[in-house]
C-alpha cells in the first residue's frame, strides 16, 4: 500500500475505560491494557474507571504532556456518545482533535457478549488494535468555519412550535413559523379544558397565538407546505409553497361579513367532522392569522362573498400557489401528532355504531363553542346519555397496533369524567375501563382521586367487544374485570374511546426532506434519549413536542423553549465550525484532466463537486457533507475523504483480520443507521456471537469495492455492509442507493469467481433496529459455522489470484 508516512515519531497513547462495571464486568481491562502496550508505536497505555469523568480526562491531558503523545486512542463507549468529549479533551491537551480515535468496546463488545467474557476480551483487544492502526495514520485537520444566518424556521405551529418561535423571537432572532393548516394553535386549540387545572384551553393559548402574530420578529407562513431543505447548519435553504386561500392575507380584515353570504357548508375537520363550516370561513373563531379561506372543492363560485367583501376587495379567485425561498440558520421541527381513528375494522364499533366516539370528538362535544354548544349528546337521538363508558388504550399499548403508551390518554379521560360529573352530576353514570392508570406528574394523582371522589367508576380490564342494540342504539360492553377476575357486561349509552396518539400524517415526507430519522414507532428520533433529547443527528435541526413521541402540554411547552435555547446556541454566534471530514481531490491523479470522466460530480448527492472538462475535479468544501461516496466511486482513486482515507480503512481491515480471518465477519457500517443500530443492540443488551468486527464509515456510500476485495483477500469469513433503509433513510440523500448499485454488481462478480453468496451480505438496518442487527450477526455467524473453516480457506485460496489482480493498482 502506498501510504505516505511523514518522518514523524509516532507516539500513541491508549486509554482503556472500565465504565464502572459496564465494560470491566465482562472484559478483562488489565489484559487489554497489557495487549495495547505491545502494539506498534504505542508508548503508553493505562486503564481508567471512568475515562469520560473529569479525573479521567485529566489523566489523558497529563499523559499527552508527559509522554509526548501525538495520537490518542480511547477504548470505551460508542463514538456516537463521547467522541466530541474526548476530541475536546485532546484539543485542550494541545493536540489536534482529529488525532484522536475511539475503540467502541462497550456497545459493540461488553454489552452484547456478557456470557462469553474470554471471547469478549479477545474482541476488545482487536477493536483496540483496529483503532490503533487507524490512529497511526490520522492526520491533523482544521475545522471549516462557515457563517451563520441568524434566522430560524419553526416547522409546525402547535403549542411547542409557538413557544419555540416566541422564545427565539424574544431573544432577537427572526423566526419563520411554518404551519400547514390555516391557523396556528395545533391540537391544543381544539381542546376544551386542560388537565389537571381545568383551565380553558383556548383562553390560555389564544393570547399566545396573538403574541406570535403581533411579534415583529415572527413571520407566520400558514396554509403552506415544506417543499425542500438544502444546505447545512447555519445555512439552510428552505423552499416553501404557500397554498392559495383565494382570500388575500394582506387585505382580509377577518370581519366575517362573507360568512353569512356563503350558501355552502362542508364538514369541518377542525370539529372532527362533527360540525360544518362554510366554503368561505376560518376553522375556528380564534384562528391566527384570522384570514378567511375559500375551499374550492366545495365552492360553487356564486361570488356572493365578493359582494359581501365589497370595497375591501380581499377575495381573488385567480390566486395561485406561491413558492418562496428562505435562508435560515437552524430549523426546529414541531410537527406534532395525529389521533388514531379506528375506522378500519370498526374497532369497538367505531364508524359503525353512531354512539361510539373518540376522545377528541368528545372534546369538541363538551366544548361550549363546539358544534353542539357544549351539550354532550348522542348522534343517534340527540339526547344526553345517562351512562357513559370510557375505554382506555385503544390502539396504544397494543402490540398489533401501536405498542407504546400514548402518554396523555389517562389524564384526558380523567378530565372528561370530571367534566361530565361537573356538568351533569348524578344524572350521569361514568365508567372507565383501563389497563393501568398513569398519572405521574405534578398534580396528576390528585386529579385521579378527585375523579374517584366525584363518583367515577374505574374498572381495570380490557374491553373485548362492543355490541349495539339496534333499537335503542345503546351499546353492550363485554369486558373482564381483572381485579375481580370475572367477566362483566355493561349497557352504555355513549362509548368514548381514548385512541392512540400516532405520528403525524405528513411525518414521512418531513423526515425525507429534513433527513431526520424516525424510530420504530414512527415518531422522530432524538440524537440521544437522555442527553440530547432535543437534537437530531442532523446538526442545526432540533425537535420539540409530540413529533418525537406523545407529550402533554407542559412537556411540549418545555421542549419548545428548550429547542429554542438549543437553536440560539447556534444563532447567537457569527459562525459555526463544521467537521473537516470532507473529500479532497488529488489533481495529479484525477482522470478528468485527460479524459471526460466527471463520475464524482454525477455521484455527489449534494452537487458539491465541479468537474470542468480538461480540469481536475474540485470539491466545494462548504457544500461537501462528508459522505465519501465520491471517494468510493472515483475510478482513479484520486479522491480522499479526510479522516476516512483508504489507507486508514485498509489499516483497520488488516488489523481486524490478522488473526483467524476465516472466523470473522467484517462489517462496514454507516454512522447514522447501521452503526447506531449496532449501538442499540448493545444498549438493549441483545447478545450475539463475537465474530463481528465493525469498521465505521460516515455513509455506506463510502464503502469502496476495494474494501470488500481486500477483506476477502485477507481471508475474511464474511463481509457485511450495513446501510440506512431504502429509499429515503440515507443521511446523505442517496448514498445507500449508490452503494447498492456498486455492491450488487460486485456480489455478482464475486459469485462468478466462486464466492459462496452467503459470505457477502448487504443489510439495511436503521438506528432503531438493534434487534435486527443482532439477528443478522447471529444468522451470519451460524452460516459461517455451518460452512466450516476448511471450506472457507479453500475458497479464499481459489479467490486470491483474482482478488490480487483486481486490487493490483492499490498494492
Amino acid at each position: 500500500m502506498s501510504v505516505k508516512h511523514e518522518s514523524e515519531d509516532l507516539r500513541v497513547g491508549v486509554f482503556v475505560c472500565h465504565c464502572g462495571l459496564n465494560i470491566a464486568g465482562v472484559v478483562n481491562v488489565k489484559e487489554v491494557v497489557e495487549y495495547a502496550k505491545t502494539l506498534p508505536n504505542v508508548v503508553f497505555a493505562i486503564d481508567n474507571r471512568y475515562t469520560c469523568s473529569d479525573p479521567g480526562q485529566e489523566e489523558i491531558r497529563k499523559a499527552v504532556k508527559e509522554h509526548k503523545l501525538n495520537r490518542v486512542v480511547v477504548a470505551a463507549c460508542s463514538p456516537r456518545m463521547h467522541e466530541p468529549t474526548f476530541r475536546r479533551c485532546v484539543d485542550e491537551a494541545g493536540l489536534n482533535p482529529y488525532l484522536f480515535e475511539m475503540a467502541n468496546i462497550r456497545e459493540h463488545c461488553s454489552w452484547c457478549h456478557p456470557s462469553t467474557p474470554k471471547e469478549a476480551t479477545e474482541k476488545a483487544k482487536e477493536i483496540v488494535k483496529m483503532a490503533v492502526s487507524k490512529a497511526r495514520l490520522l492526520r491533523p485537520l482544521e475545522p471549516i468555519e462557515v457563517p451563520v444566518a441568524s434566522t430560524a424556521l419553526v416547522v409546525g405551529g402547535g403549542v411547542a412550535g409557538i413557544n419555540a418561535a416566541l422564545e427565539l423571537a424574544e431573544m432577537g432572532f427572526k423566526v419563520y413559523l411554518l404551519e400547514k393548516n390555516e391557523s396556528i394553535g395545533g391540537h391544543m386549540a381544539q381542546l376544551d379544558k386542560t388537565f389537571p387545572t381545568l383551565d380553558c384551553s383556548i383562553c390560555i393559548l389564544g393570547p399566545k397565538m396573538v403574541d406570535v402574530a403581533r411579534h415583529p420578529n415572527i413571520e407566520i407562513i400558514s396554509f403552506a407546505d415544506l417543499l425542500s431543505v438544502e444546505g447545512y447548519i447555519g445555512n439552510f435553504k428552505v423552499r416553501i409553497r404557500k397554498n392559495p386561500r383565494y382570500v388575500l392575507e394582506e387585505k382580509c380584515t377577518g370581519c366575517g361579513e362573507c360568512l353569512p353570504a356563503c350558501p355552502i357548508e362542508f364538514p369541518n375537520d377542525w370539529d372532527m367532522n362533527l360540525g360544518v363550516r362554510k366554503a368561505i370561513s376560518v376553522p375556528f373563531p380564534q384562528a391566527v392569522p384570522l384570514v378567511y379561506r375559500i375551499n374550492r372543492d366545495y365552492c360553487i363560485e356564486c361570488y356572493k362573498c365578493i359582494d359581501a367583501c365589497g370595497p375591501r376587495q380581499a377575495i381573488n379567485f385567480d390566486q395561485k400557489p406561491e413558492e418562496i425561498e428562505l435562508k435560515v440558520g437552524t430549523i426546529i421541527v414541531a410537527t406534532g401528532y395525529d389521533i388514531y381513528l379506528p375506522e378500519e375494522g370498526n374497532l369497538y364499533g367505531y364508524g359503525k355504531y353512531s354512539n361510539v366516539i373518540t376522545s377528541l370528538e368528545f372534546e369538541r362535544l363538551i366544548l361550549a363553542a363546539g358544534p353542539t354548544g357544549g351539550h354532550v349528546v348522542r348522534a343517534s337521538d340527540g339526547k344526553m346519555p345517562k351512562v357513559v363508558v370510557f375505554v382506555q388504550c385503544v390502539g396504544s399499548r397494543d402490540v398489533n397496533k401501536y405498542p407504546y403508551c400514548s402518554n396523555f390518554c389517562c389524564m384526558y379521560t380523567l378530565k372528561h369524567t370530571i367534566q361530565l360529573k361537573e356538568h351533569y352530576g348524578s344524572d350521569v353514570e361514568v365508567y372507565v375501563f383501563y389497563m393501568d392508570m398513569r398519572s405521574n406528574f405534578k398534580g396528576y394523582e390528585e386529579f385521579y382521586y378527585r375523579a374517584r371522589e366525584m363518583g367515577v367508576n374505574f374498572i381495570r380490564g380490557r374491553v373485548s367487544k362492543v355490541i349495539e342494540d339496534p333499537e335503542t342504539k345503546n351499546l353492550l360492553i363485554h369486558a373482564e374485570d381483572t381485579l375481580l377476575g370475572e367477566p362483566i357486561e355493561l349497557e352504555a349509552e355513549l362509548v368514548v374511546l381514548a385512541t392512540a396518539a400516532i405520528p403525524n400524517k405528513g411525518i414521512e415526507e418531513i423526515a425525507r426532506i429534513l433527513n431526520v430519522t424516525r424510530g420504530t414507532d414512527g415518531f422522530f428520533m432524538e440524537s440521544h434519549p437522555k442527553l440530547k433529547p432535543l437534537d437530531t443527528p442532523v446538526d442545526g435541526i432540533f425537535l420539540a413536542g409530540a413529533c418525537q413521541g406523545p407529550k402533554d402540554i407542559p412537556y411540549s411547552v418545555s421542549q419548545g423553549c428548550g429547542a429554542a435555547a438549543r437553536a440560539a446556541t447556534i444563532l447567537s454566534k457569527p459562525s459555526v465550525k463544521i467537521e473537516p471530514i470532507i473529500s479532497v481531490v488529488d489533481p495529479e491523479k484525477c482522470r478528468n484532466t485527460k479524459v471526460k470522466c466527471g463520475i464524482c460530480a454525477t455521484k455527489c448527492p449534494y452537487g458539491a463537486i465541479k468537474a470542468e472538462p480538461g480540469m481536475p475535479a474540485q470539491v466545494i468544501s462548504a457544500m461537501c457533507h462528508g459522505c465519501g461516496t465520491c471517494a468510493a466511486e472515483c475510478p482513479a482513486d484520486a479522491i480522499t475523504q479526510m479522516h476516512f482515507t483508504d489507507a486508514q480503512i485498509f489499516a483497520q481491515i488488516e488489523a481486524a483480520l490478522e488473526k483467524n480471518p476465516e472466523d470473522k465477519i467484517l462489517g462496514f457500517c454507516c454512522n447514522w443507521c447501521s452503526y447506531a443500530g449496532a449501538d442499540l443492540a448493545g444498549t438493549s443488551r441483545f447478545e450475539y456471537p463475537t465474530n463481528i468486527r465493525i469498521v465505521k464509515t460516515m455513509c455506506s456510500g463510502r464503502v469502496d469495492r476495494d474494501f470488500v476485495l481486500e477483506a476477502f483477500r485477507r481471508g475474511a469469513g464474511m463481509v457485511l455492509i450495513g446501510a440506512c433503509h431504502l429509499p429515503y433513510d440515507c443521511h446523505y440523500i442517496d448514498g445507500n442507493w449508490k452503494m447498492k448499485a456498486r455492491m450488487e454488481a460486485l456480489a455478482k462478480a464475486l459469485e462468478k469467481m466462486g464466492l459462496t453468496p452467503d459470505r457477502f451480505r448487504i443489510e439495511y438496518i436503521s438506528a432503531a433496529e438493534g434487534s435486527k442487527f443482532a439477528q443478522v450477526v447471529r444468522e451470519m455467524a451460524e452460516k459461517l459455522r455451518d460452512m466450516g473453516r476448511e471450506r472457507i480457506i479453500i475458497e479464499n485460496e481459489k479467490l486470491r489470484p483474482y482478488l490480487e489482480r483486481m486490487l493490483g493498482k492499490k498494492r
Binding site: 350558501p263 355552502i264 364538514p267 360540525g275 366554503a279 356564486c302 361570488y303 370528538e361
Partner: protein, 297 residues
C-alpha cells in the same frame, strides 16, 4: 369522525345522505318524476350528476325502465341547485328533514318561475277540461262542499314544467302561463335510424314529438318544455337540435347562475342576460338620478 355518506338507490328513487353528528343533509331524487333530461346535469356546479341508462343499473333492485340520472357522492356538496333547476320537481333537498335549498336563501341561484295562473272567476262549474288535459295530472278542479258554488283550481306548480297544454285547451281563456324555458327544437330526420322512436318515447309531454304519416319524427314546438330528454335518448349524434334561449327566473346576481345559464343555453345567451342586467342597472340609476334632480329642483 368519518363523514358518513349514505346512498340508497332503486328504480324509483335515489337518495344521497351526508350524515354528521349535528346535521343531516338529504338529496333525494324521485325517479318516477325524473324524465332523464339534462337540466340538472348542466346546472350542477360540481359536475356531480351523470346520466344513467337502465343497462348501467341492472344490478340494483327493480331497476328503472328509462333513462335517469345519478348523483356522484364524492362530488355532491348539497347546494340544492339541482332541486331548483329541475322543472319536473324530481329532486328534493333537505337539511335535518326540513326542505331547504341553501343557494336560494343566499340568492346564489334564482328561483325558477313556474308561471301558471288561473282566473277562477271565469271557470264554470262542471268544467274539468284542464284537469283532463294535464299530461302530468297536476291539476285538480274543485267546486263541491264548502266552496259554495265557487270553483277552485289547484295546480301543483312545483312539479309543473309549464307545457301550456292547459292554457291552449281551456275553452274559457281562464289560464295564463309562461314557459319556463324558451328555445328551439328541430329534428334532422335524415339522420333518424329506420323505425326509431326513442325520442318520442322519452318525451314527457305527449304529442310534442310524434311519428307523422310518412313514418318520420315530427315536432310540435308549441308544447315543448326544452328539457332535452329526447336528445339524451336519441342514439344518433346531432339528430335532434335543441337550443335553449332563456330561463324564466327571479333576478339574481350570481356567478354560479351565470355559469349554469351558459351551460343550459349558450355563451351568447348568457352574455345577453348580463347585458340586459347592466342595462337595467343603468336604467335604475338614471331613474334615481332623475328623481333626485327633480326633488332638488
Amino acid at each position: 369522525m368519518p363523514v358518513k355518506i349514505l346512498k340508497v338507490e332503486d328504480g324509483s328513487a335515489f337518495i344521497l345522505e351526508r350524515i354528521m353528528y349535528t346535521k343531516r343533509y338529504t338529496l333525494s331524487l324521485d325517479r318516477n318524476k325524473c324524465v332523464g333530461c339534462d337540466l340538472c346535469i348542466a346546472a350542477c356546479p360540481k359536475e356531480a350528476i351523470k346520466i344513467v341508462n337502465p343497462s348501467d343499473l341492472a344490478d340494483i333492485e327493480n331497476p328503472p325502465k328509462k333513462i335517469t340520472v345519478k348523483v356522484l357522492e364524492d362530488k355532491c356538496n348539497f347546494c340544492g341547485i339541482c332541486s331548483e333547476i329541475c322543472i319536473f320537481g324530481a329532486f328534493k333537498q333537505s337539511v335535518n328533514d326540513e326542505e331547504f335549498i341553501p343557494v336560494l336563501k343566499s340568492e346564489s341561484f334564482p328561483e325558477v318561475i313556474h308561471e301558471v295562473e288561473v282566473d277562477e272567476g271565469k271557470c264554470p262549474i262542471g268544467c274539468k277540461v284542464c284537469e283532463e288535459a294535464c299530461p302530468l295530472s297536476l291539476i285538480k278542479v274543485k267546486w263541491n262542499g264548502e266552496l259554495e258554488g265557487k270553483v277552485k283550481v289547484e295546480i301543483d306548480k312545483d312539479h309543473c314544467p309549464v307545457c301550456r297544454i292547459c292554457e291552449v285547451k281551456c275553452p274559457y281563456n281562464a289560464i295564463h302561463t309562461r314557459k319556463i324555458i324558451s328555445g328551439l327544437i328541430k329534428v334532422n330526420i335524415d339522420l333518424c335510424p329506420e323505425g326509431c322512436r326513442a325520442c318520442v318515447d322519452a318525451c314527457p309531454i305527449p304529442n310534442v314529438l310524434f311519428i307523422s304519416n310518412e313514418g318520420k319524427v315530427s315536432v310540435n314546438d308549441s308544447f315543448c318544455v326544452y328539457c332535452g330528454a329526447c336528445k339524451n335518448a336519441c342514439p344518433v349524434e346531432g339528430a335532434i337540435d335543441l337550443r335553449r334561449i332563456s330561463v324564466h327566473h327571479t333576478p339574481v346576481k350570481s356567478g354560479a347562475w351565470n355559469k349554469a345559464l351558459e351551460r343550459l343555453t349558450s355563451t351568447g345567451n348568457m352574455a345577453k342576460e348580463l347585458r340586459s342586467k347592466s342595462i337595467f342597472k343603468t336604467y335604475e340609476s338614471v331613474k334615481k338620478l332623475h328623481v333626485r334632480s327633480r326633488v332638488s329642483k
